[in-house]
Subunit: 368 residues, 4 copies
Amino acid sequence: MYELSRSNRATVAYSFDDVAIAPQRRTRSDSEVDLSWRIDAVTFDLPIVAAPMDSVMSPETAIEMSRLGGLGVLNLEGLWTRYEDPTEQYAQLTEDVDQVTITRRMQQIYAEPVKEELMVARLQQLRAAGVPVAASLSPARTQEYAHVIEKAGLDFFVIRGTTVSAEHVGGGDDVLNLKDFIYRFDTPVLVGGVATYRAALHLMRAGAAGVLVGFGGGATHTTASVLGIEVPMASAVSDVAEARRDYLEESGGRYVHIIADGAVGRSGDIAKAIACGADAVMVGSPLARAAEAPGKGWHWGSEAWHSSLPRGERTYFEQVGTFEEVVVGPSRVPDGTMNLAGGLRKSMAMTGYTDIKSFQRIELILHR
Amino acid sequence: MYELSRSNRATVAYSFDDVAIAPQRRTRSDSEVDLSWRIDAVTFDLPIVAAPMDSVMSPETAIEMSRLGGLGVLNLEGLWTRYEDPTEQYAQLTEDVDQVTITRRMQQIYAEPVKEELMVARLQQLRAAGVPVAASLSPARTQEYAHVIEKAGLDFFVIRGTTVSAEHVGGGDDVLNLKDFIYRFDTPVLVGGVATYRAALHLMRAGAAGVLVGFGGGATHTTASVLGIEVPMASAVSDVAEARRDYLEESGGRYVHIIADGAVGRSGDIAKAIACGADAVMVGSPLARAAEAPGKGWHWGSEAWHSSLPRGERTYFEQVGTFEEVVVGPSRVPDGTMNLAGGLRKSMAMTGYTDIKSFQRIELILHR
Amino acid sequence: MYELSRSNRATVAYSFDDVAIAPQRRTRSDSEVDLSWRIDAVTFDLPIVAAPMDSVMSPETAIEMSRLGGLGVLNLEGLWTRYEDPTEQYAQLTEDVDQVTITRRMQQIYAEPVKEELMVARLQQLRAAGVPVAASLSPARTQEYAHVIEKAGLDFFVIRGTTVSAEHVGGGDDVLNLKDFIYRFDTPVLVGGVATYRAALHLMRAGAAGVLVGFGGGATHTTASVLGIEVPMASAVSDVAEARRDYLEESGGRYVHIIADGAVGRSGDIAKAIACGADAVMVGSPLARAAEAPGKGWHWGSEAWHSSLPRGERTYFEQVGTFEEVVVGPSRVPDGTMNLAGGLRKSMAMTGYTDIKSFQRIELILHR
Amino acid sequence: MYELSRSNRATVAYSFDDVAIAPQRRTRSDSEVDLSWRIDAVTFDLPIVAAPMDSVMSPETAIEMSRLGGLGVLNLEGLWTRYEDPTEQYAQLTEDVDQVTITRRMQQIYAEPVKEELMVARLQQLRAAGVPVAASLSPARTQEYAHVIEKAGLDFFVIRGTTVSAEHVGGGDDVLNLKDFIYRFDTPVLVGGVATYRAALHLMRAGAAGVLVGFGGGATHTTASVLGIEVPMASAVSDVAEARRDYLEESGGRYVHIIADGAVGRSGDIAKAIACGADAVMVGSPLARAAEAPGKGWHWGSEAWHSSLPRGERTYFEQVGTFEEVVVGPSRVPDGTMNLAGGLRKSMAMTGYTDIKSFQRIELILHR
């Protein structure tokens, strides 16, 4: 706690760039490390979830992500549910034009309404592929399309907004009562962004199976400039892990998963996120670098197309390899953007850890 | 307090860039948020005051600013009171020439004396538009033109310098005695810049209706390089809010308004300023980006034309939209420079606040 | 210790760039300063060891380094033991191509197996030159080639990896048991990288004659991005010096040498490393600038050619003079990359110290 | 004090860029401010000393500096005492060539021996102009040329090196015993650089009339890279001011002047130096910007031409006006490099101070 003035104090918060992992007294062989992540009834080979962003997730890449051992999530308010065939829209959104032009173009393309029948069709396509089915809606539309989700029988349902609270006040009848919704609903719900102890605790009490920590789209959003809102991730994940620990006791043993969502652009960041207390990470920009990414290297989030207050930039990333190479290697670049799983595995081996849960307890250093 | 040496200590101070707002446990709908600001007899829709700088304020844009729900302020020592028709001067000041050339050109153009009859005419023009009439003078000229101000019957009179104190020592008969002046004067006076608890407390005791915190012209002045004087805004606003709290008790209930003036270039900064304790903000550079701004994107403050010690740079900002779009949207850029009101509203909604006074109490985080 | 959350703390760590040496109350003449470093049976004129990296060490430059008063170390898993005549491979590795191309090329060139007979031949070449013979292996291959090392009768054997522990767990029969190995082995062993008090203490207890602090290849590796692992050097060296102090007491007087290995690119960094507690430094990038360096200015470490997870970049340094000029001067550049010994000597003279051991006790300042 | 390790601590130190002056509760008119500085028998209009660097000081500019109210100092080991007419040498040193070329060229040009008869002639030229005569030698040559200085009857003699101590140990008979020298010598001696409490206290006890705090040549030297030695100026000046306070008591009233020498490039830095406790400043780079500067905008210090370990870069500064305009204005640029005296005066006026001694007590803020 630092003083702004005699009676006004502020808490210091740290980003992933502020912290680092230090080698310990033991090392292990890579082959000893188990990266598996068990949540609800499903065990994933990798603790990596793909962000439901149109730039990286199509039905095909969502399936590929799951095939590689992680979890793909399709955005049910994106191009794939607004357009029968979004090829033309993707072509427009991946042209090399300036930010003002692309912002206006996004505002127009995403003005097309979402269609229920397309939601159903896309979810059937995922189900047919035999992989875990996961899809997302924004908090504002969850109530409206809950029946679609319910009927489709998802494995995981993701409610993802810039910030989501268990107590949304005001705004009429169609506002989501998160607690009622989750308890009525059979599918495990992953919900966020959230960034503080109290807000996370409330989401846990509302029944969330997992919480997304952060704002997502770390590489693309401009929430700090537009809203003044910012959550340095190392502190945010660490705070929410604290809430998880307290809730575990309060609930008599219900373990809520923590998924770091934002500022996770390199394998080293994944290791740091877990070292801060996360069970898994949600990644966007590394996947934007894969050849199969529908955004062809361009990357954008849903806050970028807001009709009156856009809060995200479209950003370009050089493409480096296939989806498989980005996620499980082999890597051909030394910057941490390929072989995400290999980077995490090596980081754990070098510090002597064999599984995600114990790696959460490693001590971090803070560099200036 | 940090040590410079055994007996020399310095207080740490933070800028708006050092702090951020974190989401809380509640959220609200945008429609629940009330941005209105009541000061003296007037209620404004928006807590946004336009800076009395020639680059952004002409009689027309001052009127437009008030029409949009904020407050426009005309500089009574600027081009509009030195020249009957300043078109030619604006043309020269908005040419793309280097800093040395423009500094000399400003020194020449502003050497033309201020004319009382033009002051009167400009103020009548504002009055005729039916909006609240507000205008500014520097502390050095306030005494000299007080009678003009008095006769014009302003709604708000702004005394604005780099730094203003309630105790100016020495310098002859024409020096402003702020306390006498304010008490003799009927119009509510907004006065600054001020940056510390004690200086602000003295201005409050002198009768100010509001104090301007900071130096203004954050984007253009070079006070730090030339004078070594600098006031990181988050700490300055927070300190002055502390003074306001103490003065409120000492005075038995007189509430002095705090207007953050400087380093408020994006909607996120407005949110942070209020979160630090401000009631309103004075903005310059965002308005310089509006199509109607008389500076056509060029932005400069009055310290820039000092005859022997210029302390400001003329800076260029890309024009992004109309005055209306900049102030109340819709925005087409994701960097916080358009739809200032919308950004503030959304920031409050996302953190669960409905009005300015309660938003002043939100806790901030300090990032490294 | 700073808080990440209520129950999660992180230790602050400082890099060489964060600290500085301040002049003291005494000064001395350069001629009064003795830079000699005695380890085991050998006394070196300079406390400077060359890093076993192919970019700087050939048999010829290893000999030259020792001739100049320091210690050259040949990498026994580099080009010189994979190829009878590596001229063609050096030519390919020093072409000006992009990072992706060079990474793939390194992966291919270093896929060629290491050959025992070449190890023997290279070591004989060093021995024949009459200088101290020192060579390195990675921890993973030490067991396999221990007999070669043993037969060759080295003066110093270096085990060097990104991180080495005294307790490597799992991984099959060929895993190195460091303690057994060192005690069985006659040659003094220098081993690292290591970065923390506990890990260093264990290496000391395992019998190391010296520990390498850091990761090496400071100028080229990307461990922080890929693994999230980073050790700011001022704190790491200082921590390991603490372990040395404690081990000295625990062992009843066995003095283990500390060699700072990484982020030592300028003579000022060498002075800082010793001021933090090091006895000597291992340098790479300054030697890459010498005309005789086989990398011709290009510099890379062994982590750069990992087959599935490369963690190093090839970096270019302008060549500034001969090996001799770089190490002992005279210098013709004012940036600390030439006359490394002279820079260290002058730093000690200006602060009034005459030998390495006493210079380790100088107090540092920390600048923001 | 911060921890590097359990038993190794470092003191935090701050630069002028880390601190700032904040407005206080009083303001004053510029005309109320007195900038005069009295040292020994002389009262200067301005507390500004010109650095004895060939790039800024010729006999002519030294005289001009004194004429303007400050103090010019000629370097007695520079071009003017090595060459009868250094025009050709200046031409070579002000050519636009790269750093390596210019370093070698400086090493050659300054290899020419210093000539006693030229020292005498240059000092007579200063004396003839009727201004205070001040000149400098390095500590290494002071003993050798003391008799010249003594005979010339200077008003101030400056001993200036990177770091000077009252206890130089070893190095033969010709080593300067500062205490003996000063006590034997009639002229007031200004000596430095010095950067810490203890070292300064010893210089004060040795009889110095003033101490130079810092290394000088802030804009050009590379001491931090080459030697690892660095002294953030705000802390250094503040520490030495502490020593002055203690010495004043210990000596029963002998007041030693503190002259900040280094990192004083803008008028704001001058104000900060005095606010930290300095009585005056020694400036180099601002004068390099004057049209009359013999370096024609190129700026270099004596450490740049060291024969085996050069520690300074030649740096270019755009020329902005005459010597007079740079020192006392009027200014035509808003960056603090013109009208140094005016900037200091305005800074004091805006914070309510009338003289240098009281301005030393203003409280500083530390920004992040």
